[in-house]
């Protein structure tokens, strides 16, 4: 069984390239271009890891992360942000997001894959 990763971003190019990279690396990848769909998809697809953009129309990445933390406590989350203030947004959200990892965008794919491997492993060994 492959590890499942859900990629959420309103930028088509990001979603497509990340899907390619993850699929090439052997992950089972699903995508969504907004937070609401992603939330639904997470229910059926049950990903080990969600990689999401922060600034999206409708539900923001931070909001999505907070909701997923409630519904799927063991699900790992990476936020990719083009802004340095994401950490502040999380602090303002007033929640310890613990395992939520905030990475600047762009982030080197090689490094990203290392983190993905690490996080999907711990996600399921813990399960």
């Amino acid at each position: 069984m492959g590890r499942r990763v859900l990629v959420v971003d309103d930028d088509r190019g990001i979603v497509d390239t990340l899907q390619t990279i993850l699929t090439m690396a052997g992950y089972d990848c699903a995508t969504s271009d907004n937070g609401n769909d992603a939330l639904q998809l997470a229910g059926h697809f049950d990903p080990h890891l969600v990689i999401s953009d922060v600034m999206m129309p409708g539900m923001s990445g931070v909001e999505l992360a907070l909701k997923l933390r409630n519904s799927h406590p063991r699900m790992r989350i990476i936020l990719l942000s083009g802004h340095a203030n994401t950490q502040d947004l999380l602090t303002q959200a007033g929640e310890s997001l613990g395992t939520v990892l905030v990475l600047p965008k762009p982030y080197p794919p090689r490094e990203l894959l290392k983190l993905v491997a690490e996080l999907t492993d711990t996600a399921h060994s813990a399960a």
Binding site: G13, G82, A84
Partner: protein, 693 residues
């Protein structure tokens, strides 16, 4: 005389027995008494003696009469002797009368006052020399002379036997003459003595005038006035006083109605003992006192002057007084108002000062003295010593011009605080004319504008940043997304194992260049904040946050962090995002400089820097250090030593940010031992209390 008496006694002893039952004796005795009464005693006795002889010879029988031989001869002898005696007596009386007349006549002649005599018709019969000298026209004018005014009526008042002198005053010209008019006894003439009493009259008039004036003053003065008699008890202590006299204003001042004749205890039984003591002392010692005193019993304040009058034993005191209750109330109100004003002046945050001229300063509020750490005396010439030397010439010139033109003085200068820190102040003084003293006083305020100035600068920056920031956010988003896509695409391309070597090389170069662009956008556009307003920022908490961000990287490179937070709760008034950006850049540099397994030491200290209370953040790495020739250039834009990944913007942006916050960034470095970056930032003037966790 004894002969006469003994003879009379002999006659009487002889006759009494014979004449016991005869009424003749009564006649003789009556005659004697009459003679004595009309004339004198001698005459009475003589009459009695003669009577005895007459009775002896003419009334009695010879047997009963005095037994003398040749009685007839003797009786004639006796008769002769009696007549002779009478004649002698009458002559002596005449002589005496003549002497008296001469005496009376000579008296006017020498009298220093004018004397004249008239007959009963008013015709002048005599004037003495003084009269002639003083009133030469009296003889000529006769009864038409003012001295003889109403003469017939005057003389008529004497009647037939009038002896009693009459007195009157007549005016002759400007003189007042006092006349005593006397009808001379037994003479048909009237003598009048004149006395010039003009001066006396004037004195009297003056006295009367004075009395009138005193009365008028007494009646009309606004002050209350009274004459009192202080009463003492058996121990000699003053016990009460009686109002002997009061003026009309009296009641108006003390409210005592119809006080004359009454005592104070009757009028005001609760009168304070103190009043009795004061008046008692004045009455006894005679020392006048002036004093201000309140009487609760009368409910008034008085200003009084008390002094003794009359003889000491009369215990009389005159008191001149005014009701000054309203004045005292006004004064109290004034004092209260002054107190209010002073409280205000001493409690407003502004420093307040008053100047009377360019170089004469009268007042500095306590907070000025406290701020500058000086005394009032040291500030008498204006306290300019505390003004920053660079601002002083312009300030003094403005002050000189303002004083000479009497216009408002306004300026900004840096003022040295007692601890040496200079802070910006705004000074303003307004000239005010004082009609009472006819001089101009300058009322000045000096306001600490340091924080305001700082805040204004930050606000300006904030506004600029807000617009720049919004653009930066858009740009960052628009750049970072395509960058990410291209980065991913290159990675995907590189995954193709069939790639020719030159293509792979090109792709790898493209990947590196992209990495540089990504780094650049992060450093320059990454500090955008949604809410960019300056606020109090806890420096230690901010550094902790940033260090947390770098924890993965630090762990990756096995770099140890030593963090000394120093004094708790050091706050700076700043844009948190900007400061975070700076701290982030410096820490990133320190990590880059450190070898694998190196150490970064972060210290926070409270320091005094550039005349201000500040915080110092120092970041020391254990890298290779920066060569001296590079050290001077590291804050220049686009200067970098990290050829592959450096943008040359990190430290430049950082130093710009720190300067905007009125701080300073410095670096020390030693080749082979590492570098220390120090950031100085002024502490917030009004730190916000951190709530206890």
């Amino acid at each position: 005389m004894p002969v006469v008496f003994s003879a009379a006694a002999l006659l009487l002893s002889k006759l009494t027995t014979a004449l016991m039952h005869s009424p003749v004796l009564i006649y003789f005795i009556l005659a004697s008494v009459l003679a004595a009464w009309v004339s004198d005693t001698i005459s009475g006795l003589l009459t009695l003696a003669l009577g005895c002889l007459e009775a002896s010879f003419f009334v009695l029988r010879p047997a009963q009469s005095i037994q003398v031989e040749h009685a007839g001869q003797l009786s004639r002898l006796g008769l002769l002797a009696g007549v002779a005696l009478l004649v002698i007596y009458v002559l002596s009386r005449l002589k005496a009368a003549q002497q008296e007349v001469a005496h009376l006549a000579s008296f006017p002649q020498l009298n220093p006052n004018p004397i004249a005599e008239t007959d009963l018709e008013g015709k002048i019969t005599y004037v003495n020399p003084v009269m002639l000298a003083r009133f030469p026209d009296v003889v000529e004018l006769q009864s038409r002379h003012p001295l003889l005014a109403d003469w017939p009526a005057m003389v008529g008042r004497f009647g037939v036997a009038g002896r009693k002198p009459i007195s009157r005053e007549v005016r002759v010209g400007d003189s007042v003459i006092f006349q005593t008019i006397q009808k001379m006894p037994d003479q048909a003439l009237v003598r009048f003595y004149s006395l010039d009493i003009t001066e006396l009259k004037q004195v009297e008039e003056a006295l009367r005038e004075s009395e009138k004036r005193y009365r008028l003053l007494f009646e009309s003065i606004d002050e209350g006035f009274c004459l009192i008699e202080v009463m003492f008890d058996e121990n000699g202590k003053p016990s009460d006083w009686r109002f002997l006299e009061t003026n009309p204003a009296f009641e108006k001042h003390n409210g005592l109605h119809e006080a004359e004749g009454k005592t104070i205890l009757e009028l005001a039984p609760n009168i304070e003992k103190g009043w009795l003591e004061i008046y008692g002392r004045v009455a006894i010692t005679g020392e006048a006192v002036r004093f201000v005193q309140r009487s609760e019993a009368l409910g008034r304040w008085f200003d009084l002057y008390a002094f003794r009058v009359g003889e000491p034993e009369q215990r009389r005191v005159a008191v001149l007084f005014s009701n000054i209750t309203s004045r005292m109330q006004t004064e109290a109100a004034l004092r209260e108002s002054e107190q209010r004003f002073r409280t205000l002046v001493e409690n407003v945050p502004q420093m307040i000062w008053v100047a009377a001229s360019e170089t004469e300063f009268l007042y500095f509020s306590p907070n000025w003295l406290e701020y500058t750490g000086t005394t009032l005396e040291e500030n008498a010439k204006g306290g300019w010593d505390a003004v920053h030397p660079e601002d002083l010439p312009a300030t003094l010139e403005k002050w000189r011009v303002a004083v000479s033109t009497r216009k408002i003085f306004e300026t900004e200068y840096r003022l040295r605080r007692a601890d040496g820190e200079y802070r910006w102040h705004f000074a303003r003084a307004v000239p005010t004319n004082h009609p009472d003293s006819n001089r101009t006083l300058w009322f000045g305020t000096t306001t600490d504008t340091q924080d305001q100035k700082h805040a204004q600068e930050l606000l300006l920056r904030t506004e600029k940043l807000a617009s720049v920031g919004r653009m930066a956010a858009t740009v960052a988003h628009e750049i970072n997304n395509p960058l990410a896509v291209v980065t991913n695409l290159i990675y995907i391309a590189l995954m193709d194992s069939n790639l020719p070597d030159h293509v792979r090389k090109n792709l790898e170069t493209a990947e590196r260049e992209l990495d540089r662009v990504a780094h650049l956008t992060r450093q320059t556009l990454g500090f955008y904040r949604e809410n960019t307003a300056p606020m109090n920022v806890d420096i230690a908490a901010l550094v902790t946050d940033v260090l947390d961000l770098y924890r993965p990287k630090l762990k990756d490179r096995k770099i140890r962090v030593e963090f000394e937070e120093g004094t708790a709760d050091l706050q700076v008034y700043a844009l948190a995002g900007e400061i975070r950006q700076v701290v982030s850049n410096i820490i990133a540099n320190a990590i880059d400089a450190c070898p694998l397994g190196g150490r970064v030491r972060v210290r926070i200290r409270r320091v005094f820097f550039n005349g201000r209370n500040s915080v110092r953040l120092s970041f020391a790495d254990t890298g290779d250090g920066i060569p001296p020739e590079n050290l001077a250039r590291i804050f220049e834009p686009f200067y970098t030593t990290k050829q592959a990944v450096g943008t040359g913007l990190g430290l430049w942006v950082s130093s710009e940010i720190i300067q905007r916050h009125q701080g300073s960034i410095r670096v020390r470095s030693q080749i082979g031992r590492g570098s220390v970056f120090s950031i100085y930032l002024p502490l917030a003037a009004h730190p916000i209390q951190q709530e206890a966790a």
